[in-house]
């Protein structure tokens, strides 16, 4: 099974629970793996989401609370959960009322799935 297929298989059940899109990007916003629901709002794949996280993650790690692991942005209609897997970023967009804890756990699951990719990229750096 390809990485794209196993990514889709992992993501799909969460669409019933309010998830709108799941993206794996690099820190410049280039999409590596994506699965977007037909109901997702326009602009979920916008690179600005990943670049904002990249800057914010770096700054948040300087607050004296050690490394920043993730950033959750709650908007009026949506919530954006971004998880750091340096040098990659997992971005999940869901309904504002959806269960944030569930998606954080799901983010950990995705993080385990992309671990080999992250290790390969870190070797390169």
């Amino acid at each position: 099974m390809s990485a794209k297929e196993s990514f889709q298989q992992l993501v799909q059940p969460y669409f019933e629970k309010g998830l709108k899109s799941a993206l794996l990007t690099d820190r410049e916003g280039v999409v590596i793996l994506e699965y977007v629901s037909p109901e997702a709002p326009a602009g979920v794949t916008d690179p600005s989401l990943s670049t904002a996280f990249s800057i914010a993650n770096n700054q948040a790690s300087k607050m004296g609370l050690k490394r920043n692991k993730s950033i959750i942005g709650i908007y009026g209609l949506h919530q954006v959960i971004q998880i750091d897997c340096y040098p990659l970023i997992i971005s999940l967009v869901a309904d504002a009322t959806a269960n944030t804890g569930l998606f954080l756990d799901f983010g950990d699951e995705l993080q385990k799935m992309v671990e080999p990719m992250v290790a390969a990229l870190q070797d390169k750096h």
Binding site: A42, G43, A52, Q59, K62, I71, I74, Y75, G76, L104
Partner: protein, 133 residues
């Protein structure tokens, strides 16, 4: 008008159950009132939290309906889980409220607290909002 002493008391009341610092600041990161172990710590948290808030606000200005203030999808809360603590930021009126919890605090509790304090401060801060422009 605003009573600075009362704001500090409100912030101090939030520093229970794993919350170690509470700050009220403007969008530039300058402190109005705080309850923290040291003023240096409070200044650092405030400056970085305000910068993060503005980073996310600026990134949303893409013109699409997603994260667009005009369509009611405006930024309400930012939560930043770190290895040794969690930071939550909200915007009562034109100000920013920042709570810092230790690593034992539950995210839901922190979110509920930041929402409650923000709602409590919203109305009095709204009254002085016009003077800040």
């Amino acid at each position: 008008m605003l009573k600075p002493k009362v704001i500090s008391q409100v912030l101090r009341q939030t520093t229970t159950g794993g919350i170690k610092a509470a700050m009220l600041m403007n969008t530039g990161g300058s402190l109005l009132a705080f309850a923290a172990a040291s003023d240096r710590e409070a200044r650092i948290y405030a400056a970085i939290a305000a910068n993060l808030w503005s980073t996310y606000l600026k990134s949303a200005m893409t013109g699409s309906s997603f994260r667009n203030e005009a369509d009611g999808d405006d930024l309400r809360i930012l939560i930043l889980p770190c290895e040794e603590g969690v930071v939550a930021v909200a915007a009562p009126s034109t100000m920013l409220l920042c709570l810092v919890g230790d690593s034992t605090i539950e995210l839901g509790l922190l979110k509920a607290k930041v929402e409650a304090v923000s709602k409590h401060l919203q109305e009095p801060l709204e009254r002085v909002a016009s003077y800040q422009q």
